[in-house]
Symmetry: C3
C-alpha cells in the first residue's frame, strides 16, 4: 500500500480528544509505517500543548512518528489576549513551532496531504 499522508487541523481545544482518537484509530487500521501524520494546532487549541493529560497521549503518538506542530501567531495571540502565555522553548521537544499555521496547512496539501478537520 502506498503511504497515506494526512494533516489534521485542530483549531478548537474541545476537538483534541476527537483528533487524538482519530489518529489512534487510523494507525491501528493501516499500521504505523503506512501513514504520515501531521497535526497542526492553531487558534486557542495551542493551549493543549501545555495540558499534561493530552501531552501524554501526544507523546505516545509522537513515538509512532506523528508530528505535532504549533502556530506561533496563535501562541503570541493567546498571550496578548491574556489567555495563556506559553514559552515555546519550554514546549516538549516533539512539538515543532511554525511562524504561521495556515501557511503550513496549505503547503502540506500542496504536497499531497489530505486535510481532516476533526
Amino acid at each position: 500500500m502506498e503511504t497515506l499522508k494526512v494533516l489534521f487541523h485542530v483549531s478548537e481545544p474541545d476537538r483534541w480528544k476527537v483528533a487524538l482518537g482519530n489518529i489512534t484509530n487510523l494507525i491501528k487500521d493501516v499500521g504505523e509505517g503506512n501513514v504520515d501524520v501531521e497535526v497542526l494546532a492553531n487558534g486557542p487549541s495551542v493551549s493543549a500543548y501545555v495540558d499534561s493529560e493530552l501531552i501524554d497521549i501526544m507523546k505516545g503518538l509522537a513515538e509512532k512518528n506523528v508530528r505535532f506542530v504549533a502556530c506561533r501567531n496563535s501562541l503570541k495571540k493567546m498571550c496578548a489576549d491574556d489567555i495563556i502565555c506559553i514559552d515555546e522553548d519550554k514546549l516538549p521537544s516533539f512539538i515543532e513551532v511554525v511562524p504561521a499555521g495556515i501557511t503550513e496547512i496549505i503547503k502540506k496539501q500542496a504536497e499531497g496531504y489530505a486535510y481532516v478537520k476533526p
Copy 2:
C-alpha cells in the same frame, strides 16, 4: 464537464441537515450524472443512520447515487459509551460500513475527491 468528486465529512449530529441540504443543492446545480458524492459519518454523527426522518432524505439521495458510509469504530464507541448501540446488520442497505472512517477520508482525497466539512 469532467465529473466532480467530493467527500462530505460529517462528525457532529447537528451538521446532518446542512450536509444533506448541501448535497441536494449540489446535485441540482451540476446535474446527477456530473458529480460523485460520498458522505462519511464518524463520531456521534453515526446516530443519524437510525433516524427515520434523516434516513428518508438520505434514501432519496442514495437513489441519485450518493454513497453513505459509517465508521465502525464510531459505531462501537457509541455503544461502549452507552449512548446508542446500532446493529450494523440492521442499517438500511444503502449504508456501507468501513473499519475506520478516517482512513476512508484520507484514501478518497488521495483519489482526487474534494473534502467538505459542512
Copy 3:
C-alpha cells in the same frame, strides 16, 4: 516560491473573525503576491456580507487580491427563513455571487486549491 492557492470555507457567522485573522496572517507570512486566496461563504455566514465592521476588514483584504464569494442558495434560504434578506445587487462590488457555494468549493479543490475550514 510557487504560488500557494487556498479556499477558505466559512459556513458559521462566528468563524469570520478567525477566517479574516488567518488570511491576514497568511499574507503577512508569505507576501501578497505569493498566495491566491478565495473565501467562500455559505449558510448563515453570508450575513457577514452586510456587516459593516467585517466588510471594512474584507475590503482591505480584497485590495490585496483576496476574493470573497457568496452562495446564492444560502442568500435565498436566509431570506426564505425570515432571517435576513440580502439584495445581491447591493452587495459591495468586491463580493462575487455563485449559484451554489458547494460546487465552487469542489471546483477550486479540483483546480489545486487547498481547503481550510477556519
